[in-house]
């Protein structure tokens, strides 16, 4: 793989004819150079179990003890003052063990599926899919505030500018469809790191994520993708290419970079012909519409995004992030006060996500699509400032995986009896990153990029593949 790495880096440097030539070959042969064809199912470093990822990002932090991490002790000790090691207090003052009021969940839990997994009434529809999921209850991460934790979730670093995970994956295994961007973020938030969460940082710009739409408003569209104006689309492009051809010949000794530039118009043309169709849902059946909740006001918005994610995956997009969030500094799930508001958000995502899982399974896509659900951290099992909400909790929370290569129907790891801190089979966000790369056939220790004098990795010097959630293990 050293050969491949040095190849990628020579294109990254970008200067000189060698780089231009490889850019050209990349453009013309597309997936043969960068994508799955050259690696196929053999993966970059080992056999890949998943070919693509859908990340359902619950921005703001879903409370684990009110959703998937059932803790009866919270109800029996509701209202008691108990010493907790609060992450924010530790970061601010270095203190631990200050008293907080235990707050029970306002929602009932019941068991679902053959696996008998406990799920609260927030997610009844998702509950029906627990047998597909590997529920990881022992997540923990870095960053107590949204910005840092969100950046950490996406790029493995709180304070430094690092490439987003989707960019690393693009860089590692390329795209399956050269006519589409390989890394897409649907309705990303502009807050809490904004573009840095899908940015390529020091990796070449072509690996950066393409946003479709914006959080909070606007149509689901891609910048600069629209019909070419003029007499008719193709003839307009032909005119430009005619001029380009004249200029290329006038230069006599044209550089290959110019050929690449001309070729990029053909690429653009292909993208243009493919993408708008993807964004057009008119051919989807009514049944599909209902499945994703497009017929309900509350679920319509996130449903559209989930449906788009499925369509993108079908078309070979490698990494699709479906954001549920907004642009504020305290996004969506951030219920510091008024915990019951969680219900509103749960309502908005439950049916669409359940629909997506059903749809992926029906179409056979779930076999090699990895679905990843969760937020940047969880929430505390006690009342924030003795009020009616819960503060952030990076020390223990739940995420789930489903699909390609994931052991279905299991629960992995455990938090303490209050559901506060991960204590058993802990899975750090770095471990999650390592595991996702592993499923895609990438060894997280070998996927490196040289920048500022050293080799960088998504997982820095950390991360272990969580074998316990793999179907092969």
């Amino acid at each position: 793989m050293i050969h491949r790495r040095s190849f990628l880096q020579s294109t990254a440097c970008g200067f000189g004819s060698v780089a231009a030539a490889s850019l050209l070959s990349q453009l013309t042969t597309g997936s043969r150079v960068m994508g799955s064809d050259s690696f196929g199912s053999s993966g970059l470093h080992h056999i890949a179990k998943a070919k693509r990822v859908i990340f359902l990002f619950m921005q703001g932090g879903v409370s684990q003890v009110d959703s998937f991490d059932y803790k009866p002790l919270l109800a029996s000790r509701d209202g008691e003052m108990v010493g907790f090691d609060d992450a924010r207090e530790f970061a601010n003052k270095g203190t631990v063990g200050s008293p907080h009021r235990v707050m029970k969940s306002p929602w009932e839990f019941k068991q679902f599926g053959e696996s008998g997994r406990w799920v609260s009434e927030l997610f009844p529809k998702m509950g029906e899919h627990v047998d597909k999921m590997a529920m990881i209850h022992s997540m923990h991460t870095d960053g107590v505030a949204h910005g840092p934790a969100t950046l950490f979730l996406h790029s493995g670093s709180q304070n430094f500018i690092r490439p987003s995970m989707g960019s690393w994956i693009q860089y590692g295994i390329g795209t399956e469809n050269e006519n589409l961007p390989g890394f897409v973020s649907i309705s990303p938030s502009i807050g809490n790191g904004g573009p840095r969460n899908y940015g390529s940082a020091f990796l070449p710009a072509k690996f950066q994520g393409t946003p479709i739409g914006k959080a909070g408003r606007g149509p689901l569209s891609i910048d600069h993708l629209k019909p070419i104006s003029g007499i008719s689309n193709r003839s307009r492009l032909d005119q430009i290419q005619a001029l380009n051809q004249i200029q290329l010949e006038q230069r006599l000794n044209g550089e290959t970079e110019l050929d690449a530039a001309i070729e990029s118009y053909e690429m653009a043309w292909k993208m243009q012909s493919t993408a708008p169709e993807l964004l057009d849902f008119s051919k989807e059946s009514e049944e599909t519409s209902r499945l994703y909740g497009l017929d309900q006001k509350e679920t319509e918005s996130y449903g559209r995004k989930c449906l788009l994610a499925r369509r993108l995956c079908e078309s070979g997009v490698r990494f699709v992030q479906v954001n549920y969030g907004d642009n504020s500094a305290n996004p969506a799930w951030d219920q510091h006060a008024n915990l019951p508001k969680h219900a509103e958000h749960a309502r908005a995502v439950d049916q669409p996500i359940a629909g997506l899982l059903t749809d992926l399974a029906q179409r056979g896509l779930l076999e090699d699509t990895l679905v990843w659900w969760g937020g940047e951290f969880g929430r505390a099992p006690y009342a924030e400032k003795n009020g009616t909400g819960r503060d952030h909790n990076p020390g223990g929370f739940t995420m789930w995986l489903a699909g390609g290569g994931v052991r279905p129907g299991i629960a992995y790891g455990r938090t303490d009896d209050f559901g506060h801190l991960a204590i058993e089979n802990k899975v750090h966000m770095h471990d999650m990153h390592a595991t996702i790369l592993h499923l895609l056939g990438i060894d997280h220790e070998k996927l490196t990029f040289k920048h500022a004098g050293r080799d960088f990795r998504l997982t820095d010097v950390h991360g272990h593949v969580v074998r316990g959630v793999l179907s092969e293990a």
Binding site: A145, A205, A261, A329
Partner: protein
Amino acid sequence: MRGNQSKRSCGLLAVFLLVACGRQTYAQALVDERSDFFEKRVRPLLVARCLECHATDTEASGGLVLDSKAGWSKGGDSGAAVELKDWQKSLLWTAVDYRNPKLQMPPDTRLSEQEKEVFRIWLSTGAYDPREQPAVKPTKKSSALSLEDSQSHWAYRPVTDRLIPSTVLEQTKAIDAFLAKSQRASEAHATEIASTGVLSQRLSIDLHGMRQSSEELNTRLDYEERVDALISSPRFGERFARHWMDAVRFSESITLRGFVLPDAWRYRKYLIDSFNQDKPVTEFIREQIAGDLIQSDSIEKRQSQLVATTALALGDTNLEEQDKKQLEMDYVDEQLELIGKVFLAQTIGCARCHDHKFDPIPTRDYYAMAGIMKSSVAMEHSNVSKWVSVPLPMDRNTESEYEAKIARQAMVKKRLDVLKKKIQSVPDASPTVVRVEDLQGVVVDDTSAKKTGVWKDSTSIKSYVGMNYLHDENDGKGLKSVTYEPTDIKPGVYRVRLSYTHGASRATAVVVRIFSADGEDVVRVNQVEKPSDDGLWQTLGSYRFEQGGQAFVIISNEKSDGHVVADAIQFLPENSVPTASQSEKSTDKSDLKQETQEIDHGTLELLRKESASLESELKSLQNMLDARPMVLSLRAAETPSDISIHVRGSVHQLGATVPRGFLSCIPSTASTPPIDATSNGRLELADWLANDRNPLTARVYVNRVWSWLMGDGIVRTVDNFGTTGEQPSNLELLDWLTLRFIEHGWSTKWLVREIVCSDAYKRSSKCSEHAREIDPDNRLFARSSIRRLDVETIRDTLLNASGELDLGVEIESTIPSKLKEDYDFQHSVRYRSVYGPWFRNALPELYSEFDGANPSFSISKRNRSTIAQQALALLNSDWIAQRASRFGELISKQSSFTDDQKIANCFQTLLSRLPSDREAAWANEQLRQSRQIEIPAEEAWSSLVHSIIASIDFRYVE
């Protein structure tokens, strides 16, 4: 709990001892007992849970091995693992106790209570360990260049004067003589000098970042005259400042929360002026590192020196980081990384956690330099920390005016406090019940707030808002709270007020927490005293709320010493003045008896009048002070100090303290004295950097300028001269040029002129296949590389064509006043792109598609990608379409011109040349087709123009 358990552990050992004492001496029994305990309990536990990572034959993670007594006694990078004297302070115990989030072992699953108990007994009874023999020392392999050998690497050796190689031609410039020598050695043939047209185009783009205008095209100047004209134009400073802005990650906002940095523009102006004035680079560097510490009699100088330090404060900082120690060190790290890359071409950041793996930069050098940066304050801490703004130095009169205003402000505030108290002492004439509907702003009354714990409704004492107010019955302290959350509050700044009924039985410090867009604030309210505004409301402060962001207030009864009252919370939009009429609208006149008044009515009126006039004076004072010009900078700490090595980069594991200093691989220069204990250190750092004898600084700068003009550096890794960077392709040339540059007083303009007047610069890019094979990367500079317009040049050229460009004079801030965050900022078009504003969350159009520099990084070489998104942007971007449309309109209105003349005009403006015959034919054919289907003339021309913009010759220049 902890006490109990230690008793239990003593008990356990006692049982062991009792059993043993029968036959053996006490001491022997103790050893046996401990040995038994170790073998049966401790050793298996160590094997099961620790040795996987902490053994000599595994990874010795963190330098710690637990496979022998010697291993844990010596400990790892953080020191001994076991403290026998005070076992509870042992790092081993801290780790397994799992209370410190920064140190928790085993990392994946914490020990069970039983397992912890084993360690507790083992440690508390002296940590007996029979595994005396030290484990085999792992041999550390290091590929690093040692400090002793650092002189073996070219970049750390002094710059040495080189003889100019002899050449056949007398008039050959030195640069060409050096290059000819290396080209001869590789049998590479230099290409011929490019045509005058090509060269003037090239100069215009390299020196001004703009395509030549038609006027320039028509002026007849010889080459050197043209160079001089370009160098002395203000456009030169704009172009070179933009290069420097890439290197110092210039930006006018911060990614997280999109905070706008309103004063960053001063630094941009400083850069443009510095390049235009050809400021000696030594001065340029000194000012950016320590301008605030350099003395000067001239106000202008003091101003520009201070502004220069903005360079150190432009990091894309995570101001939200809750661990402020971590934040400060990350801030320093960013500064060191910057200084290293920009001035020294060294990857200093690599030495933060361990000695540099390749270069002779030990961790102690990192912390020697970090101590210097840490001796200045860069942020004021709070939940979300704030950058430091310093007043711009002014003439003595203006400064003393500001000082007087500050003094007056303090006085007014004091007097207002006195007045408030006096007015308050007068009981309200009419305690009332106030209706929510009669109040301004957004009001949340207790009836719609969320209560935790038992609260009692009451109407006993007036005034209050709505049906009633709540109190905690002076009971259940710490268990009760009321949360006020307005359902829909519009974004903006609000004055938040609390209403309560005061009285002697009340608590004196009720904790009220306000959660706003800027985090949490705690205010303690003394409910014994009467609310300050109108006897009903107490102002808590002014807070900013954003769309969908947190907006709520919690009143808690924690630690309270009396009845806690919770009535209503009011959110008053800032700038609206609360009216006194609120009480007049009351529906229920009080029948409570009025207390005797100490101040008569007339006096009260006077006091109120004075208070009102002072309030308005305060406001105008504040407005005047807000208008004071400020600079984004640092503040030298009162007591500078050395700092400790941070073990593995962790702010929570400190090692030995290191004296402040510089890189030890570069022999100290005679003129830089050691850093005095009381000195800040940045000035010394500046002098050490900007020094003729520092082998890196001048070489790095010269190479940087070379790369700006020639497309690549003599050392292609412009910001890495370390052993992982590339070797110079021509060290003799680099050294010769560096020494001449120093001799010419570190003059950028001299250097630029020297380079662009060389044949190397003027060569054609057309070369044979053979030449390409000999030197595919053009490291010998035997030909020129084709230029690709950067995104600023593309934008400026189009703005110029559409007639929208305003070249302006002394352009200052382009940020609308009062803009607080950069999200979704809509860029207007007027000035050259360099004037931005440069917002991290809202980059100008086309910037990300066309390889603009990431403004969060120091960028020394922009990416050069060729991607479909560029083609899409050229075809479909609204921004480009608008420019094309305006330009097309201008062209179509030139009614006195023929089509051919108009076509020529299009080509001249966009490509700085006339169309070839084939191009002219192509253009006419396009027009003919448009006319055939009866497209209006303006559109036809716009479409033609748009096609030319999309052509390769627009973006690629020979």
